[in-house]
Symmetry: C2
Subunit: 166 residues, 2 copies
DNA sequence: TAACATTGGTTTCAATTGTAACCACTGTAT
DNA sequence: ATACAGTGGTTACAATTGAAACCAATGTTA
């Protein structure tokens, strides 16, 4: 395929799969390693799960939104959001008030406390991201950015339009 | 700490986090989308979970290995492997025999049936990968390959040497 | 040889997650 | 008003997962 530095042609039989080179697999291993490391970091310090932290991250940037809007933003599902929010309410990191215009809708926000925690996690998160990409040149960072964007479009199509063939 | 190449045009306050641009987050969303789509594809056709399929994929390339070696190869954990193997034994996709040299160790292989299923899944998997990367140019594919490699090294260091700071 | 640490692998139990059913409210049509 | 479909959000239950305890075999030390 792309790179074979030590062989004139790829020697792998077509009916074998090189898992180590298989993109979906590599993405998954990489992403798991990264997520686990980071979630340990703030999980340990602030007792936050990844979904909870995601909710806070969104609320930090977009105040006054509802759970449904969180679903849109994060691509997490309804139930996960509901649970994350309810645990964040319990720990007083977020506040919730009814939207008088639509009494089904609950408007969410970071609480004072939540804002403090948020302010402390953000640099930590950035530090991790920084550390992760120090090994990349500026060009590579840009490349990665645009490549991820393209892959995401494709993957999104899968989930929307159903799978290949079928 | 390490390097700082931030553009002057960035308007986001430093103490805010743009989740949509946060690499660990994007990786996770992308990887989940891809994995779910693909696992649906062969889960539906062959009743395989992702861990089970991974085990088969490794066994297809590396016969006569043990569960412990599977752990090494896949970065999955002991228990996940154990469960996957036991379900694969039940469906007769893999065989297991005791290593006479070390009676704790079990040597695993694809069965005839397993090999057949493997042979049918491989093209399917490749088709998905293909479809995913059609949106990328040849250069981009090479870039992605090497970038993932670099990120993986870093993430691996985290899990081995513990986290940043600490 | 007895004692103890280590390794390969499984089991158990609790926490996390996903799916579907559900309740409460709103919007629309009758 | 009344009925009914759609939406926001939660609950209940089953399946999946992870951590820790565990068993059996091996290696190591004395």
């Amino acid at each position: 395929m792309t790179n074979d530095h030590n062989a004139p042609q790829t020697v792998i039989k077509q009916d074998e799969l090189r898992l180590e080179k298989f993109l979906p697999y590599r993405l998954s291993v990489l992403s798991n390693r990264v997520s686990n490391a980071i979630s340990q970091a703030y999980g340990a310090r602030f007792h936050l799960t990844i979904p909870a932290w995601r909710v806070m991250a969104i609320l930090g940037r977009f105040p006054d939104i509802s759970a449904a809007e969180l679903v849109e933003q994060t691509a997490m599902d309804k139930v996960a959001i509901s649970r994350a929010v309810s645990s964040l309410l319990k720990s007083d990191y977020v506040t919730r008030r009814e939207d008088p215009a639509d009494r089904r809708r609950q408007v969410l926000n970071l609480s004072e406390q939540g804002r403090e925690v948020y302010a402390r996690i953000v640099p930590l998160a950035q530090q991790y991201e920084n550390d992760l990409i120090t090994s990349l040149s500026t060009e590579e960072r840009e490349q990665l950015d645009s490549i991820i964007e393209k892959l995401m479009v494709r993957a999104k199509e899968w989930s929307e339009r159903g799978l290949i063939d079928e």
